[in-house]
């Protein structure tokens, strides 16, 4: 029953989406608003149907309807309530529903926001959105149908992947997918601009906030993913250059480049072609990311290994890229720049360099990710490059980018005079050098750490200098301090939102550098009452107990942590799920601004007298999460509607 109903709704939604895309395109071409209106109704219908599919599947999860194969493979009678809801998008089929639902939602918002304001571009953007939505619905009907019969009906399900039983799983995929799908809107408007030949600034202005919204969600998704990795996976890291992490990071890099290059086009009428290509590239990379994750070409912690869907995604990716680049070639003449670069020392070049470095980083990540595939195809041997490769190549790129973060916003447009450079950068450079010297005197010998610190202080000071100067200007005209700062943030919210994002990035950079340079770890096997030591902390093994939970059984250790005085009792555990062949580690930690104490239970004697633990003292990691919060707040500030100066 559920299966037939759900599958039927998916089919109808697919037909409606195809009709809507065609109607919007024909309506735009023939100038018939009635057809476009009909496409709008189709889009609404598609959204309602996908919502119904989603609700139906959730209902099947909540009621343990094991006649649905997807439910039977991803839940069982012991799965707790919350995880039965998040389990809906815990695996391939459900994640495609979530994806389509978000795409449908964005399509509706696009209709509401732009129906009256962008007459020429809007119908084509709508047609593009619905076309892409139709592809995902096609995947839902033929390659990864969530509504498939389980014969015979199972008495109990297989259960959810235990690693996904975490609150991070509620937010991580949702944020990530909102980011991924969000880039479809700027792409749709870029396509509309190319098709209509209106490649001026209209599409950019229309999609500016859309891009920041998508960027905001993608950043949030990446950060929560790192948090999940650190707190659940139990290896003490937050980023492993895993192919799937890379898949989300590449569009983030190109989107970041786009957010910056847009400003050049707005201000100087340059980089039209570049901006269109960046949008196409970003959207293409979101599809490529999905292809990597869903096809099983590259195995990784997240990969849902499913064969047939890969070809479908690769085919669609090829189709999209060929169409888009074909349109670019067609509009080549119209895309030529009107402005010219005046000087190498100018804001334009700083932004251009920022773009080149971001694209270089994206290319490096891409290259490293597909390298095993390339080497196998070309030379027949499997060669991998791991984290050392990514770190080695990307660290100089990111350091340069951070440096530019200080230069770009303050250097003059067109041509910077010596006077301008001195006025803006004298203090930041002095303080940056002073910070490096201070760090060296205090005993920091890691060149990378010193360099990062100096750059961070330099950039932080440029932001401070600018902000103080702008506030002073307002105080001078008689405003009080608080309204002056508030007004500044509110009136130039894009600029200061960007600065706050930059501050967040600085904090993240400090956290990443600190954790790489100064974290320490060790392993030890302890008998009851024995202690291990690491970095001034003592860990005493007190106790080992077995606990029965609703859907698993776990062995919990108790370890007293002290550094002169008792700080805490940490309880890392090992969980045993009946459906899994191997246990799963459950980490315990004590977080701090300076350092985290992080404890993993490795092995234990069955009689509970002996336990092997992995101990880590991870330095400055908390600043990554704090920086993440700052970054997202900055992005939110930038998203606010711009208030025109009265």
């Amino acid at each position: 029953m559920t299966v037939d109903f759900g599958y039927g709704m998916t089919l109808v939604a697919l037909v409606l989406a195809i009709y809507g895309a065609a109607a919007a395109a024909v309506g735009a071409r023939a100038g018939r608003p009635a057809l476009v209106e009909s496409a709008q109704h189709a889009a609404l219908g598609v959204f309602v149907l996908i919502t119904a599919c989603f609700a139906l599947l959730t209902y099947a999860f909540l009621t343990f309807d094991f006649s649905v194969r997807y439910v039977a493979t991803n839940t069982n009678l012991g799965t707790p309530f919350y995880y039965r809801i998040t389990g809906v998008w815990g695996a391939l089929e459900g994640s495609i529903i979530l994806w389509s639902w978000m795409l449908g939602l964005y399509t509706l918002i696009l209709i509401l926001r732009h129906r009256d304001s962008a007459r020429e571009l809007y119908p084509w953007a709508l047609a593009t959105m619905l076309g892409i939505l139709a592809f995902f619905l096609l995947v839902m009907t033929i390659a990864a149908p969530p509504f498939q019969r389980q014969v015979p009906v199972a008495a109990d399900g297989r259960g959810l992947n235990p690693l996904l039983e975490d609150t991070g799983m509620i937010t991580h995929p949702v944020a990530l997918y909102l980011g991924f799908t969000g880039f479809t809107v700027p792409f749709a408007f870029a396509m509309a601009a190319l098709i209509t030949g209106r490649v001026g600034d209209t599409w950019l202005v229309l999609t500016r906030r859309w891009t920041i919204v998508a960027w905001y969600f993608l950043s949030l998704g990446l950060l929560i993913g790192g948090w999940w990795s650190y707190h659940v996976l139990g290896w003490g890291g937050y980023w492993a250059w895993d192919p799937v992490e890379n898949a989300a990071f590449m569009p983030w890099l190109t989107a970041t480049a786009f957010l910056h290059s847009v400003m050049i086009q707005e201000r100087r009428r340059m980089l039209k072609l570049w901006n269109i290509v960046l949008v196409i590239l970003t959207f293409g990379l979101t599809l490529f990311g999905t292809f990597l994750t869903r096809s099983g070409v590259i195995a990784s912690v997240h990969a849902f290994t499913q064969g047939s869907i890969g070809a479908l995604f690769l085919g669609f990716l090829a189709l999209v890229m060929l169409t888009a680049l074909g349109l670019v070639a067609w509009r080549w003449e119209a895309l030529r720049s009107q402005g010219e670069l005046d000087s190498v020392v100018s804001r334009e070049s700083a932004f251009l360099l920022n773009n080149v470095l971001l694209i270089a980083a994206a290319f490096t990540v891409f290259f490293g990710t597909v390298f095993p595939l390339l080497s196998e195809a070309v030379r027949g041997v499997k060669v991998s490059v791991g984290a050392p490769f990514f770190n080695q190549v990307n660290v100089p790129l990111f350091l340069s980018l951070i440096f530019l973060m200080g230069v770009g916003p303050l250097i003059a447009w067109r041509r910077a005079s010596l006077e301008n450079l001195k006025r803006n950068f004298l203090w930041p450079v002095v303080l940056g050098v002073a910070a490096a010297a201070a760090a060296f005197v205090l005993g920091v010998r890691s060149a990378l750490a010193v360099l990062t610190l100096a750059t961070t202080v330099f950039v932080g000071t440029t932001i401070g200098v600018d902000f103080v100067r702008a506030t002073r200007a307002r105080l001078r005209v008689g405003e009080a301090l608080i309204p002056a700062v508030g007004g500044l943030l509110r009136r130039h919210n894009r600029r200061y939102g960007g600065f706050v994002v930059h501050l967040g990035i600085l904090l993240i950079a400090l956290g990443v550098t600190g954790s790489h340079a100064w974290s320490v770890q060790t392993e030890a096997t302890l008998r009851r009452g024995e202690t291990a030591e690491l970095a001034g902390y003592r860990f005493r093994f007190d106790d080992l107990t077995a606990v029965e939970e609703s859907n698993h059984f776990k062995v919990v250790g108790a370890f007293t942590v002290s550094n002169g005085r008792v700080l805490d009792v940490l309880r890392p555990a090992k969980k045993f799920y009946p459906q899994e062949q191997s246990p799963i580690a459950y980490v315990d930690y004590r977080l701090g601004l300076k350092e985290d104490v992080y404890l993993v239970l490795g092995d234990f004697a069955r009689d509970g007298t002996q336990a092997t633990i992995k101990l880590q003292v991870n330095r400055l990691v908390s600043w990554i999460w704090i920086g993440g919060v700052v970054l997202t707040l900055g992005a939110l500030l930038a998203i606010l509607p711009e208030r025109r100066t009265a």
Binding site: A240, L341, S582
Partner: protein, 146 residues
């Protein structure tokens, strides 16, 4: 030098530096995947390899107090003794596939710095012990792109 040449020269320098960094990165951190038979045939002591095979039942020894882990990896034709300092990962067990990263030592064993744990049901043992079964296992291990 006019502006255009300056920008083109700047671009060329960036591309060249990037190409060099990628080249250097690949040569320094590329790790070859080998099977026990391939390692036996070509091993150079001290060179980094990624070795994949099945953990031979009965070969696993774990000295918890000393944190010494030793086992034998097999691909059906050859076996390689492996030693590792540290706790075996959760997914690691006898009769199942494993990928280890490390180097071949002159003392005749493979010193693993890293044992890869992957969340997947694919690391199944070749149940019948046939050569075809081993080949299937190696294929899935080789697929590990990390």
């Amino acid at each position: 030098m006019n502006r255009r040449t300056k920008f083109i020269a700047g671009g060329a320098v960036i591309v060249a530096v990037l190409a060099y960094m990628i080249y250097a990165g690949v040569t320094q951190s590329a790790v070859y995947f080998v099977t026990p038979a391939e390692l036996r045939a070509t091993a150079v002591p001290g060179k980094a390899y990624r070795l994949g095979g099945m953990v031979v039942p009965g070969s696993l020894k774990w000295e918890a107090r000393a944190l010494d882990l030793s086992f034998t990896l097999s691909d059906g034709t050859a076996t390689v003794p492996v030693r590792h300092k540290g706790t075996p990962p959760d997914l690691f067990a006898e009769g199942r596939g494993a990928v280890v990263e490390g180097s071949w030592t002159a003392d005749g064993y493979f010193k693993a710095g890293l044992i890869m744990a992957k969340h997947s049901e694919e690391y199944k043992a070749p149940h019948d012990g046939t050569q075809a079964g081993y080949q299937e296992l190696i294929k899935t291990l080789r697929g590990d792109g990390r």
